[in-house]
């Protein structure tokens, strides 16, 4: 591995990094898609940050805007129809959204890398995996073909693809789903990024393979100290690997906090509903307690709190005023619920907790 000298780490596309700034911070970001039949408001004011060696999970169901927000961070939203209408994305304190595309490209892949759910479509079927991994070095470091291939073998070893030297010239379809995901991770790690965004990295995989991949990601994080943003709908995966969690609903966070705080003492009716909806393999549960209704239409997000039509605790104010994030006692803990204290008390009284 060619280690990037430390002093260049202090520069972000030629601009000086701000000392002490979080690795990546996203503030009040808004994304909308302007389509023929209306405007889809996919992300509406999301704010979060991730530090070195930290794993932050963005947890949400389909349509919550979790993937779109990651695409906004990467700067890979198709525009039109997608537009980042407001907000800020800072990498080591340097604003990315106002950066020229040429500079942005230096950050993308090199400093912030991303892996996707579907490794088969994310890899080009007509090139060998070695060529595709090597391309990162040829493109960004001007390596020769030979150097690129050697680096590819090294990376494939690092993501524990057996017989890397023999398989470097294989095509993506010759690999299993789990191995393809490893290839994607190898490509993402090629340039030793500071932040890795993993968008549903294990959703398409079987549970035993999922365990392998999550283990690999956490080993690699240990090794490189990168910040990991894990986008998923899977509460189990989040519980296992995340340090902090951001729960998203209708394009905005409803609750944020340290993972054990959120899981043991959820502070938003939506999070509570998710927990109660989950069947367990380790405990017998008589009856699931689902959230009623379905997620909102992003073209007509309910006024006030977006969750109010599905919320068992909703009052008049919830239908009018969008709740801001209330700070709670614990570190970094916030909840976007008008009645956070009441709701928590009610839940604790009823004794329905994990």
């Amino acid at each position: 591995m060619t280690q990037v000298p430390l002093q260049t780490r202090d520069l972000v596309a030629g601009k000086p990094a701000v000392p002490g700034a979080p690795l990546l911070s996203v503030e009040n970001i808004h994304v909308e898609f302007r389509l023929d039949f209306g405007t889809v408001k996919a992300v509406n004011g999301l704010t979060y940050h991730v530090n070195e060696r930290e794993t932050v999970a963005i947890l949400g169901e389909s349509g919550s805007g979790k993937s779109v927000s990651a695409q906004a961070v990467m700067g890979i939203i198709d525009s039109p129809p997608g537009f980042v209408t407001d907000g800020s994305v800072k990498f080591r304190g340097v604003e990315l959204l106002t950066m020229a595309e040429k500079e942005r490209r230096q950050v993308r892949g090199e400093r912030i890398a991303m892996i996707f759910q579907d490794a088969l479509t994310a890899l080009n079927p007509v090139f060998t995996v070695g060529w595709q991994i090597g391309e990162m070095f040829r493109e960004h470091h001007g390596s020769t073909k030979k150097e690129g291939l050697d680096a590819a073998v090294e990376l494939m070893d690092r993501v524990k693809i057996p017989l890397a030297r023999d398989r470097v010239n294989s095509y993506p379809h010759e690999f299993s789903g789990g191995m393809r995901q490893r290839v994607m991770i190898a490509m993402a790690l090629a340039l030793d990024p500071d932040v890795l965004i993993a968008d549903e990295p294990t959703t398409a995989l079987d549970v035993t393979v999922q365990a392998q991949i999550m283990q690999l990601l956490s080993d690699l994080q240990e090794e490189t100290g990168m910040g990991l943003i894990l986008i998923t709908h899977d509460l189990g995966v989040v519980a296992e690997v995340a340090d902090r969690v951001v729960v998203m609903y209708a394009g905005d966070s409803v609750e944020k906090g340290e993972i054990s705080d959120v899981y043991h003492n959820p502070a938003h009716p939506y999070t509570m509903g998710l927990m109660d909806s989950m069947p367990r393999h380790d405990v017998q549960k008589d009856r699931l307690n689902p959230i009623k209704g379905s997620p909102p239409d992003l073209m007509a997000i309910p006024a006030g709190c977006a969750f109010n039509p599905r919320c068992p605790y909703a009052q008049d104010i919830c239908r009018v005023e969008k709740p801001h994030l209330h700070e709670l006692g614990e570190a970094g803990r916030v909840s976007a619920c008008h009645f956070v204290e009441e709701v928590r008390d009610a839940r604790n009284r009823s004794g329905s907790r994990l």
């Binding site: 889809v40 169901e61 349509g63 759910q117």
Partner: protein
């Protein structure tokens, strides 16, 4: 990834909201497609042009009071004038009237050929695609071999065998040569729909093959076929003109655009209007069908909406 579902228009509504938001949207996919179509200028223009051509074919008298077969030689080869809008041809016939009456043959052949080829394709393609196995292998291979015959070349060879060549003969030849592409399309469309779970559901309910094909498979595999059939009408009209031009299509005294272009070629320098008017009308007609096919493709493909 799932987020993308929401932004491509497939929006999930909470139950209470469904009532208000979609009350007026009780519509089938065909209905939706129709509403998308009438908002498209390309569709409206091509549909209007096709409509005009159709009316022209059925009621030529609405467009001209002149008889295309009354040809005083004394008026031969006149250039366009107030009396003869498109001028006159070598025999002195009114060229405007002949162009109008020519629509009938072109449109008739276009529609007949497409209808019959489509029928063959729907039956053959459904059987081949749905049953698979040896039937499919046979039909598919025969289609492929047939497919290899170039339409115009095949048309020249076969039509040369006929002494008298009218609308029926030309149509027959174009049907015989035209079905393979459409059958291949129906077959692949049927195969993809056959694998869907709603077809499995129907089978699990005990539905007969006939029911499955007519109620489930065909309605859902029709969209690409309709698009192609629309374009085919235009292509057939052009093919008829080409065959007539090559003197293996319709014969005089039939009135067709292809024949008119064919006769005009000798006088292209002295009387260019003889080539221009039938050529322009032919191009507009073919173009309209192809445009309409494109508009339909956009409207019927839910992925593009």
């Amino acid at each position: 990834m799932s987020d993308r579902v929401a932004i491509t228009g497939d929006i999930e509504l909470p139950d209470e909201h469904v009532d208000e938001a979609t009350e007026d949207r009780v519509a089938s996919l065909w209905g939706d497609a129709w509403r998308a179509l009438i908002r498209k200028p390309i569709f409206v223009i091509s549909a209007l042009l096709i409509l005009i051509m159709m009316v022209m074919a059925v009621f030529p008298g609405l467009f001209t009071s002149k008889d295309p077969r009354s040809c005083p030689l004394s008026e031969a080869l006149q250039t366009p004038s107030a009396e003869h809008w498109f001028g006159t041809d070598v025999q002195g016939c009114d060229y405007y009237a002949r162009t109008i009456y020519g629509a009938r043959v072109s449109i008739t052949i276009g529609l007949i050929v497409t209808t019959f080829a489509l029928t063959i394709a729907l039956v053959g393609g459904s059987i081949s695609g749905y049953y698979g196995g040896i039937v499919d292998t046979l039909i598919a291979r025969v289609t492929d071999m047939w497919f290899a015959i170039p339409t115009i070349l095949g048309g020249i060879v076969i039509l040369a065998l006929f002494q008298n060549r009218g609308v029926a003969q030309v149509s027959l030849v174009l049907i015989v040569l035209g079905w393979p592409t459409m059958l291949r399309l129906v077959r692949s469309s049927v195969i993809s729909v056959k694998e869907t779970e709603y077809v499995d559901s129907a089978r699990a309910l005990g539905a007969t093959d006939f029911r499955i094909i007519t109620r489930h498979i065909l309605p859902n595999s029709l969209a690409p076929v309709i698009v192609y059939a629309t374009i085919t009408v235009g292509v057939v009209i052009a093919a008829e003109a080409a065959l007539s031009f090559l003197n293996v299509g319709l014969q005089l005294p039939a009135i067709s655009w292809g024949l008119m272009i064919s006769t005009a070629q000798n006088r292209i320098l002295t009387s260019p209007h003889l080539l221009f008017f039938p050529g322009a009308v032919l191009s507009i007609t073919v173009f309209s069908f192809i445009l309409m096919g494109d508009a339909l493709r956009d409207a019927l493909d839910p992925k593009l909406r």
